[in-house]
Symmetry: C2
Subunit: 341 residues, 2 copies
């Protein structure tokens, strides 16, 4: 494997992405669309995307921001308990899934659901199940920060058991427990981010405090990272790449009360290639970043071939557009793989 | 207890304090000396305090910074493997203890010991034991951030067992395991900070990231805080108050790569009173902040009575002196107890 100097990824997909809106969208949109064939776009705008009108207009703004690139934004709705069957039937072909947030659990989730009781969620979930709309979930309780995902497991189990035909995606899993749970129900799947394959709480708070590595869910223990990495490297068929790349301007990261989110879009494919090469698993990378998602969501992405070459890539210190800016993970550092122009 | 409106603390002692040097010392020194009778001063200057000359001159600078207050700085040396018996005998009456840092484990600890093997430490520890000089220890390994203190426990045990006459203080303990270990060896004692009685990792990284609550050892789990609080509230005789109040200028806290340390000196007695009142344990506060330390270290502090009154105290947003500044814990918030002028 030491002789590999180029590597091709077909139809790379980022199945969990935050593109925000306005100038931030114009800044970060192309940093995904120039390398990915498509991405599942999170609906946690202010206000969140809950109507067909908001959905279509957001999709249009994304397409404009990413114009010129072969790129499809797969949009989602922000879960609400009172979505009618008729509404969902009408909007079905314009979305790839619906994202459920417990209220207040992360950035712009204040209007999420206040109860995770299956009976409260039942009307919307039943319609989704019938219509074949996948459910994407931010699975954290409001308990102690290291336990939030584990404490959420019984909720995943109750939804998975109550709606066996509903495709459920545990978003951005961070624990060995979640990896294990994925195999327990046929309809449970998961995304994992790049940064949760790389870091633990040690990297955030073990030395000096590193706000650019602070995210939700927070990075966990070494044994958790190890379980996530194992599953990714073997391209576990129920696991997809979802960067959860989440831009916040520099001044909201390097401050008192810093916002949660790691920005990885412009480095994701290079670092994934580096990582899969290191563990001699390059043959599984295309399944992890594309094929698994195609099967789980049952769709055919736009054709796009990305060629990576073994050549130094110095990660920019900051990306800027008008008044917006964002600091990427590994800012200023040198990666060993580049994307061929 | 609801009728308590004044409370007196006699000879309050802070048995773990960072005063730094230069203008920072001039800024923070008086914020301790105006309320405490004495404090055990940490030796991790740059360079660390390892000679009699450095020790006496630092003590003099502290006294000058705190001039006008009834206050005694109890100084310490920075542990070295090659301290001779003669040197320690000569310096004995000028120090209250010697502080041992594993190399690189916290602020200015780069020249700490690189091996915690008892045999490597033996010459200095043997002299200390014979001369009755207490050993203060920053007890963390360089393992995963949540496990560092627990992983250090076997080292405490081996030193405690090898030197039964040596008074050992586990500094700033943060775990239920350390509370338990304290009772296992007659010669093991501990300090606990104010902030570790109040916060968990949740307060640092559970919501937005809070650099002013980032410290080493990092705040742990709810059950750890609970064990520490129980021991403090009952004034466990082997446990002393040691604030570990550690000033860093604002720009080194609110930045990328923020330094570890919480600055609590100017609010410590007020918040402790609030806390002990809340749990109806005010009768134990004087033991926790003074009597226990007097017995463990076997010394008589300067007479000083501090009267607290139930009156709002708005914590300053920042303390400043010349080019130095520091943001205290609870900056801008209102405490229910004040120190009477």
């Amino acid at each position: 494997m030491s002789s590999v100097t180029t590597f091709e990824i077909n139809e790379p997909l980022d199945m969990h992405l935050h593109l925000r809106d306005g100038d931030m969208l114009k800044l970060v949109g192309p940093l995904t669309s120039n390398t990915f064939s498509g991405a599942l776009i999170m609906p946690n705008l202010v206000p969140p995307v809950t109507t067909k009108e908001a959905l279509l207009s957001y999709k249009q703004r994304i397409k404009e921001a990413c114009e010129g690139d072969t790129f499809e934004p797969y949009c989602t709705l922000f879960f609400q308990n009172d979505y009618s069957y008729e509404f969902l039937e009408d909007v079905k072909d314009d979305i790839i899934g619906i994202k459920l947030y417990p209220a207040g659990i992360t950035t712009n989730s204040e209007t999420g659901v206040s109860s995770m009781d299956v009976e409260v969620l039942r009307p919307t979930l039943e319609s989704m199940s019938k219509l074949g709309i996948p459910l994407c979930v931010h699975g954290e309780t409001n308990g102690f920060v290291m336990d939030r995902e584990k404490e959420f497991m019984p909720i995943y189990e109750s939804i998975a058991a109550a709606f066996p035909d509903l495709t459920i995606i545990m978003e951005h899993i961070t624990t060995a427990d979640a990896v294990e749970l994925m195999d327990k129900y046929d309809n449970l799947h998961a995304t994992v981010t790049l940064h949760h394959l790389l870091i633990t709480l040690d990297d955030v708070a073990g030395g000096m405090l590193q706000p650019h590595l602070f995210c939700k869910p927070i990075a966990k223990r070494p044994e958790d990272r190890s379980a996530l990495l194992d599953a990714a490297l073997k391209a576990h068929p129920k696991l997809m790449f979802g960067s959860d790349s989440a831009p916040h301007p520099k001044h909201k990261k390097e401050c008192c009360g810093c916002a949660a989110g790691v920005f990885t879009s412009p480095i994701a494919l290079q670092v994934l290639t580096e990582l899969f090469e290191k563990y001699q698993a390059l043959e599984n990378l295309n399944a992890f970043v594309s094929l698994n998602a195609q099967k789980i969501y049952n769709f055919k992405p736009l054709t796009k071939k990305i060629k990576l070459v073994k050549k130094d890539f110095v990660v920019p210190e900051i990306y800027e557009y008008k008044n917006e800016n964002v600091v990427p993970m590994y800012a200023g550092e040198t990666l060993s793989w580049s994307i061929e122009d």
